[in-house]
Amino acid sequence: MTTALKEWPLWEVFVRSKQGLEHKHCGSLHAADAAQALDMARDVYTRRQEGVSIWVVPSAQITASNPDEKGELFDPAADKIYRHPTFYEIPDEVGHM
């Protein structure tokens, strides 16, 4: 018998649940290449009509932010409260704005 080549690479699966919505990450799987990953994703992640469109991305290709830099990356947005509509008081008689 031959010796094993190695494990199939890992892919991240994103599924659009219905037309008009964004693709959302729903899990991962192993497949030999992109075409197969797409078919496998159909069989694994849309058995209950969860999707109308699928993306697959090699897991190794994802660049993620460093959790140690969470403070400098995300905390500075915390005090920009003027970006939110609720920051502004508008008289009731104006109605919805």
Binding site: T2, L5, W8, G27, V44, R47
Partner: protein
């Protein structure tokens, strides 16, 4: 499906993990503890204590192994399902267990362990899986009873895991629980229909209940007093409810269901305790549980050898797919050049 106490120790793998923390680790440890205490979530790239990582890998991989070994006892009956409707339901159900195994392996892979490594642990006999699958499925009623009682017990255990402190595990469990709800219902409904049938069918249902009841109670794992890992698991938010509490909840939920079904649960000590507002139940045979967990149950060897054979027989198929993918890639590169 089927978590039991996934805090059963695996056999030693010969590697030791350094546990003594450095100074730098102490600060990280404090930050980790704070997040856990605040019921926060840990994500794959976050720092985590090695023991937490190791416990999670063990628990999630044992859970995943249980799902795929769990395909076998029920899978026995796919070819003999007594109607085409039941055949389709059973294939879909067993297939779901495979899917659950896949989600869980993926969750464990985020902790830096490959699926192949985990399978190696299973195939070598080092890694444990739920003891319940080392019992034989002798009649069609076993399929219904596994759905009703075994999946019922599993759901009790899994719903709290949707709030597990480790994000990928919790998310996998949300998906699993969504799919799992059909499993228990289909099992119970199959039994209800059988109970409207012939005397032989009714006897078949009762016989299956008699054989599986105690094994299901044991599935929740050893009593709290004998579960040294449980306290740490609770502290880390990996385990949310204790073995005994889950077991009690299961008994209390099942008694009225058995009554509606028209079967007797095989425990003379089973009765309502007005003071505790719970059912009392008899003594579980923990010797048998440990014998089975440790490889000496009626089907351990068959289940494991069957998994190993499927994996080994599939090697040439997996290799072929990879070889083709590589050839294709180099062809595309030549074309582009």
């Amino acid at each position: 499906m089927y978590t039991q106490s996934f805090n059963v120790p695996d056999a030693p793998d010969g590697k030791t993990v350094p546990l003594a923390p450095s100074k730098e680790d102490a600060a990280l440890q404090a930050a980790f503890d704070t997040r856990i205490d605040a019921d926060g979530r840990i994500e794959p790239q976050d720092w985590m204590p090695e023991a937490y990582r190791k416990t999670l890998v063990r628990q999630i991989s044992q859970h995943a192994h249980s799902e795929i070994v769990g395909m076998l006892p029920e899978g026995n009956w796919i070819s003999r399902a007594p109607s085409l409707k039941r055949k389709a339901i059973l294939i879909a159900k067993v297939q779901d267990e495979g899917g659950h195994g896949l989600y869980l392996y993926s969750a464990a892979e985020t902790l830096g362990t490959s699926r192949d490594q985990m399978l190696e642990g299973l195939h070598s006999g080092r890694a444990k899986y739920s003891s319940i699958f080392n019992y034989p499925t002798l009649t069609w009623a076993d399929v219904g009873v596994i759905g009703w009682l075994v999946d019922g017990a599993a759901i009790m255990n899994q719903i709290p895991l949707c709030r597990c402190s480790y994000g990928p595990y919790a998310r996998a469990m949300v998906r699993v629980c969504k799919e799992e709800s059909f499993h228990q219902r289909q099992g119970y409904e199959a039994l209800l229909v059988m109970m409207t049938g012939t005397e032989e069918q009714k006897a078949m249902v009762q016989d299956a209940v008699d054989r599986w009841w105690w094994k299901c109670l044991a599935m929740f794992g050893p009593p709290d007093a004998d579960s040294p890992n449980s306290a740490q698991g609770m502290r880390w938010g990996i385990k949310r409810v204790s073995n005994d509490d889950l077991r009690q909840k299961f008994v209390d939920a099942t008694v009225p269901q058995a009554k509606v079904l028209g079967v007797t649960l095989p425990d003379p000590d089973l009765k309502w305790n007005e003071e505790r507002q719970h059912h009392d139940y008899g003594r579980i045979d923990w010797n048998e549980f440990w014998e089975t967990v440790n490889g000496n149950g009626p089907c351990n060897k068959e289940r494991l050898a069957t998994r190993v054979k499927a994996h080994n027989d599939g090697q040439w198929v997996r290799d072929a797919a990879l070889a083709h993918a590589r050839k294709q890639q180099s062809r595309n590169m030549k074309e582009a050049a």
